[in-house]
């Protein structure tokens, strides 16, 4: 009982802290300013998941900036759990479907979607609503449930993670779009873009056993996604990453898009109500210069629908 109260208080206090923290570098509404250069990060709020993505990608110059004609694209949402979209354990299916559609419209030859799930994979694919959304949008849903799909890669810059078995789609695709859902996480504090990459490898056990946060950051040294799209439409504020019931979830209607995986995670952490420097893997990734968690240095477009 006491612990749950603490979490609730923690969350609301966190939102306040986060806000005061963010106020420093920002004056006025950035979205009202003309885009001087390309944006480093786009944050959208108060729209439906698909509409928010339309606005975000348009402000970044459209999907054609990331996907060239004839390229193969892999979209990696979080489909880890056998739960319905209302539970927000997985990425919103509408968002995933819309991303697939944008990629195809940009001329992608194929758009693949997969995850190495935690619950039974086919039930996750089905009940998350992602299977239908991807097929309706014209994408290909690929299994990730057996070791055969994974190939060994070396991670020379990793401190603890030197080797990983990575899904062949990541190795064979030209464009890699990472689409995590923003949620609480019992192991990693928050599950975001970097944490979502644990779903492209086979042997997660090693990560847990050998300094989880360092391994999460180490993997980013091997490959950074082309684009990170963080789904904050429904947000699981406690009991993550699986959640116990819909009572864990609040409607936030937020979306963060950035090519900088650390910046995207930092922004989403603030939305969640925590500080990026309190999340070890974000702090480590920032120190390893895999991106920046200092949002004041970035050109951010803020869109309120």
């Amino acid at each position: 009982m006491k612990r749950r109260e603490f979490i609730i208080k923690g969350v609301s206090a966190g939102v306040v802290t986060g806000t005061s923290l963010g106020l420093g570098g920002i004056t006025g509404l950035a979205s009202a300013l003309p885009p001087q250069n390309a944006y480093d990060l786009v944050a959208v709020r108060d729209g439906e998941p698909d509409v928010m993505f339309d606005r975000a990608i348009a402000s970044l110059g459209g999907m054609t900036k990331y996907v060239k004609k004839g390229q193969k694209v892999v979209v990696k949402p979080n489909i880890g759990w056998d739960v319905i979209p209302e539970r927000a354990g997985n990425t919103n299916p509408k968002l995933v479907g819309r991303i697939v559609k944008h990629c195809l419209e940009a001329g992608a030859s194929e758009v693949y979607v997969f995850d190495n799930t935690c619950d039974a994979w086919n039930l996750c694919y089905k009940n998350s609503g992602i299977e239908k959304a991807v097929k309706d949008a014209g994408g290909k849903l690929v299994p990730g449930n057996t070791e055969n799909y994974y190939q060994s890669v070396q991670i020379p810059k990793g401190k603890r993670l030197k080797e990983a078995r990575v899904h062949e789609l990541i190795l064979n695709s030209d464009v890699f779009i990472n689409v995590p859902v923003l949620k609480h996480h019992s192991s990693a504090s928050i599950s975001l873009a970097m944490k979502n990459l644990m779903g492209v490898v086979w042997d997660r056990r090693y990560w847990h056993r050998n300094d989880l946060h360092q391994c999460i950051a180490d993997f980013v040294t091997w490959r950074k996604p082309t684009l990170n799209v963080i789904d904050g439409y429904r947000v699981m504020l406690r009991n993550g990453p699986r959640g116990v019931s819909e009572a864990d979830v609040v409607m936030m209607k937020q979306l963060i898009v950035s090519a900088d995986i650390v910046a995207a995670d930092a922004a989403a952490t603030l939305v969640f109500g925590s500080k990026p420097q309190d999340i070890p893997h974000i702090r480590i990734a920032n120190e390893m210069k895999l991106g920046t968690m200092d949002l004041s240095r970035l050109n951010i477009n803020r869109i309120k629908i």
Binding site: V15, A120, N122, R209, N210
Partner: protein, 524 residues
């Protein structure tokens, strides 16, 4: 006169349909067959249906009753069409006769003492609350085990090879299914049983059905007095013996023009084979035939001893070894998980109900989407040999899934509504702090809590900003997700201690989250 071929042809066609359907449910690589089909396909199988009827009653379990009635009217149609093991033996004995061109069969005397003794012992053992003997002898369950343990791996290997080829063409509709059901005891038993039945049917046709099989013996008691029976017409029969040569039950005594109805499986081979229409299938009134006297049985004693030796032998054949691979610079854990009880599947109510009613057909093992259900060796004791248990090193119970309880044909796993299933406690997680990564390495982990569907395993503050698992056994359901996910080896830091009797866990309490409006659109 022309011989009549259609009854035999109809019987063959029907038997192949049953053989195929009953087989496919064990081989289905990706659970394409809907649950209702699985229920319908296993409905007529005698032993599972009888056991389920004893537990639940009702039409959903009345398949065996239908075949008692059918046997009373038409004879042992069940044995020659519905029983997949019977058809399997027919195929073997046909190969022997047609392809290997062995000597035809001939009349043999019944082994009545042995067959009824086995039946009586099986019945007594069921009443006494042991499923072990039925488990060993039931034809459906043995057929299931043969398919699930010996054929399924081959089907999955083929499926996965085909999936690999399709993937090269960029086609992904065929998923791969790993085979995790390697259990030496049940694999060995299935193989030994297949060899035994192959040998018995190659040499003596339906010898298994008429000496060992308890279902055959029981239905034989009914077919003895069935309304329609095969008989040799005293006028038309010229004692040429053709019928006897094709009789796989070896029950036609041409010399005395008599048929042992208790052993006749109504295959109608004899009708087709008779050149003079002397074999007839007709109404034989309500008379009860004379019970045959039985010869002394030194030979049978030997066979029984052999059979017993074979059972005990296979039971002790196997041991379980866990291959552990330590990667990186990790330290091995030191404290063994001391599990005194394994968990039985949700819906089985606990060990007693489950062990009493499961015939170890392994249908649930084949259908379980997470492969958590695995054949046991001595996990339940000798009593539960080969019965499935929750093997949390192989998988964990998917929170939303009720497949095993939906399809169990014997009622060992009873149907469970999804909401109830989510609260049935199969066991309780036990945390071994000294094995935990957070304790030994002082780094974050939380894999156990991550997978926990009720957050019975929660992360609580430990030190230096770290959190460590804590178990609330009131809301733990024993699904084993924590044990499966725990990364430490060789011993895990969390494991599920099984409940002898399942109980209802409390529902996790959830308070409402109220978000304060900060008045800011973006916190950055």
């Amino acid at each position: 006169m022309r011989s009549v071929a259609w009854p035999r042809k109809a019987r063959i066609a029907l038997s192949l349909v049953f053989l195929l359907f009953t087989g496919v449910i064990f081989l289905d690589p990706a659970r394409w067959i809907p649950v209702v089909w699985l229920q319908a396909i296993t409905w007529p199988q005698f032993t599972p249906s009888l056991l389920k009827f004893l537990i639940t009653g009702g039409w959903a379990a009345a398949g065996f009753l239908l075949f008692v009635v059918i046997t009373l009217v038409f004879g042992r149609i069940y044995c020659s069409t519905v029983c997949p093991l019977g058809t399997l033996q027919d195929i073997i004995s046909r190969i022997r006769r047609r392809i290997l061109r062995q000597k035809p069969l001939r009349y043999a005397r019944p082994q009545n003492i042995l067959r009824y003794l086995i039946l009586i012992i099986v019945v007594i053992s069921i009443i006494a609350g042991s499923a072990l003997l039925v488990n060993f002898l039931d034809p459906y369950s043995n057929y299931g085990r043969i398919l699930a343990n010996l054929f399924r791996p081959a089907v999955l290997a083929g499926n996965n090879a085909l999936a690999g080829m399709l993937e090269k063409q960029d086609i992904f509709w065929l998923p791969r299914t790993p085979w995790k059901g390697y259990q030496p005891a049940s694999l060995g038993f299935a193989a030994a049983f297949l060899i035994l039945v192959t040998w018995m049917s190659a040499v003596r046709g339906r010898l298994y059905c008429n000496t060992v099989c308890p279902v055959g013996a029981l239905l034989g008691l009914f077919s003895r007095v069935s309304l329609l029976r095969i008989s040799l017409d005293k006028q038309l029969c010229n004692s040429c013996g053709q019928c006897s040569k094709v009789c796989k039950a070896q029950c036609i005594d041409v010399k005395n023009r008599e048929v042992d109805y208790s052993r006749c499986v109504a295959c109608f081979n004899c009708i087709t084979a008779c050149p003079s229409s002397g074999v007839v299938y007709r109404f034989s009134g309500f008379s009860i035939p004379q019970v045959e006297t039985v010869p002394a049985d030194g030979e049978k004693q030997n066979r029984r001893t052999l059979l017993k030796a074979f059972m005990v032998g296979t039971a002790f054949l196997s041991t379980r070894a866990f291959a552990t691979r330590l990667t990186g610079g990790e330290k091995p854990t030191t404290i063994p998980e001391e599990r005194s009880l394994v968990s039985s599947p949700p819906g089985s109510e606990g060990h007693d109900h489950f062990n009493k009613n499961c015939t170890a057909c392994h249908l649930c093992v084949s259908a379980c989407p997470t492969h958590v259900l695995q054949p046991s060796f001595l996990e339940y004791g000798l009593q539960g040999l080969m019965q499935p248990y929750m093997d949390y090193h192989s998988g964990f119970c998917n929170f939303e899934c009720t497949v095993c309880s939906d399809i169990c044909p014997t009622g060992a796993i009873l149907p469970l509504a999804k909401d109830l299933k989510k609260r049935v406690q199969l066991g309780v997680a036990v945390f071994i702090k000294e094995n935990c990564v957070v304790y030994t390495d002082e780094t974050d982990c939380g894999a156990c809590s991550e997978h926990c569907p009720t957050k019975a395993v929660d992360m609580v503050p430990y030190k230096d900003g770290l959190t460590i698992p804590e178990v609330d056994d009131k809301i733990c359901i024993g699904c084993g997700a924590c044990e499966y996910a725990c990364p430490t080896r060789p011993f895990r830091a969390i494991f599920v201690e099984g409940n002898q009797l399942h109980i209802m866990a409390d529902e996790p309490q959830q308070e409402e989250i109220i978000l304060e409006d900060t008045g800011e659109d973006f916190p950055f």
